[in-house]
């Protein structure tokens, strides 16, 4: 049993967006701060730090969770994926991202990376959601700009296309 001391930096090695990376963290360092400050993943935004707004949502082992309610020391040897994993190196957006753009599902874009990660996880297990299902899932995020209209359209359209294999 290894006790990580509060006043030391501890090396954490894990898979980030498909690449193995490592960084140092004290036990109380939040995953959101670790990704942003130590690893430069500034796409993980911080909106409330108490788990309500959903802005910091990332995948840990494929599940959408709040990075602000997770400590960096908890992700050792696990898989963390951020919004940066969705588009390819040539700057091509994926289908969900493109649908967000088409339906004007973002304005300031601050909440968007977290929402995209929630949707990606959700659609993997719910391929044929109703609008009310989608709204229920989205209610774990706050967006202050859009009124959610474009998001719901974009998600419904993406779900339908993925289901029909387009």
């Amino acid at each position: 049993m290894r006790e990580l001391k509060s006043d030391r930096q501890h090396k954490i090695t894990f898979t980030l967006d498909g690449r193995q990376v490592s960084g140092d963290a004290e036990p109380h360092l939040l995953l959101s701060d670790f990704l942003r400050e130590k690893l430069g993943v500034t796409s993980v935004h911080v909106g409330c730090e108490h788990g309500v707004c959903g802005t910091c949502t990332v995948h840990i082992d494929g599940k959408a969770v709040r990075a602000c309610l997770t400590f960096a020391v908890q992700v050792g040897n696990r898989r963390v994926d951020t919004v940066e994993s969705l588009s390819n190196n040539e700057g091509e957006l994926n289908d969900l991202q493109s649908a967000f753009r088409k339906h004007h599902a973002l304005q300031c874009g601050f909440c968007t990376p977290g929402i995209l990660m929630s949707v990606e996880h959700y659609l993997r297990h719910n391929s044929d959601p109703t609008e009310s299902d989608v709204r229920d899932m989205l209610s774990g995020h706050l967006c202050r700009c859009t009124g959610y209209v474009g998001m719901v359209r974009a998600i419904m359209e993406t779900a339908a296309k993925r289901k029909s294999g387009i």
Binding site: S6, P27, H50, V65, L69, T70, F71, Y122, G140
Partner: protein, 277 residues
């Protein structure tokens, strides 16, 4: 909003975790899903010396069904329970209540037992435990004990769990033939803590009603099958005993009113769920 410094252990087994809890000189907190605890840590409301992470303990990650009981290990997430096949048959009330527990994203990490340990007076899972008269299994390095819901949750955010103990499992009774269940919740916003949550459990001869959101912990009443008028009177008495309080989201009167009005509705729903079987 950053936590105070603390030491951290990622326990690999229940024994390891319990060994950490033996240290009475330190303020040790158990971290499972962290959906309540880490928010409180970030706000510096909780200032532990040591955090024991039990989320990766495999033996605590199981859901086991026996004849009478569904036993949910301390590392089982709310999402895992919600997706567990057969939940709607085994413990229908949990399956009705789980969609109201936080959100998709918080259920992915938040645990069932963590919600019980947090003992929020408005939470759904402690309410169901109380309404169904379930229990929790507490373990320390020296002993293991089982407390029923009423013994376990002692008040506002308070439980009978001693500093050297932790919850290792929650036990929800399995639905029996002829049982009927219903769940209802009113919140100002989807996924919020309930203003009032109601869990009804009806058998051939008994009515059990649990209420969250009025008192400092879930409250349960059990009646024999009552006439309509008797039920109204019983609900009114229940509402006034719980009293409720005013806050920025609702008045005490509103809370009592929901006990009276929705209390009747959920009992009726549970009854009709019963007769359908």
């Amino acid at each position: 909003m950053k936590p105070v410094p603390f030491d951290y252990v990622q326990a690999q087994s229940t024994e390891e975790a319990l060994a950490c809890l033996k240290d009475s000189d330190r303020n040790v907190r158990v971290l499972a899903g962290g959906q309540s605890l880490v928010a409180m840590l970030n706000l510096r409301l909780v200032r532990p010396n040591l955090l024991v992470d039990i989320s990766q303990i495999e033996s605590l990650s199981t859901i086991r069904q026996s004849k009478d009981i569904l036993e949910i290990g301390a590392a089982v997430t709310q999402a895992e329970l919600k997706q567990w096949p057969g939940l709607a048959e085994s413990v229908p009330q949990l399956s009705m209540a789980l969609p109201f527990v936080g959100h998709f994203q918080t259920r992915n990490k938040g645990t069932v037992c963590g919600s019980l340990a947090h003992a929020d007076p408005s939470s759904e899972l402690p309410l169901c435990l109380a309404a169904l008269n379930g229990s929790v299994v507490l373990q320390s390095a020296r002993r293991s004990r089982v407390l029923n819901a009423a013994e376990f949750q002692t008040g506002m955010l308070s439980t009978a769990c001693q500093p050297d103990e932790m919850i290792v499992a929650a036990r929800y009774p399995i639905s029996r033939e002829g049982d009927g269940f219903a769940f209802r919740e009113v919140a100002r916003r989807h996924g919020d803590f309930a203003i009032v949550a109601l869990a009804a459990f009806v058998t051939e001869s008994k009515i059990r009603l649990g209420i969250g959101g009025l008192a400092s912990r879930p409250s349960v009443r059990e009646w024999d099958i009552l006439s309509e008028q008797e039920l109204d009177e019983a609900l009114n008495a229940f509402a006034w005993q719980l009293k409720g309080s005013d806050d920025i989201h609702a008045t005490a009167r509103y809370r009592r009113e929901l006990v009276r009005r929705l209390g009747r509705q959920v009992i009726e729903e549970a009854k009709s769920a019963r007769t359908k079987e």
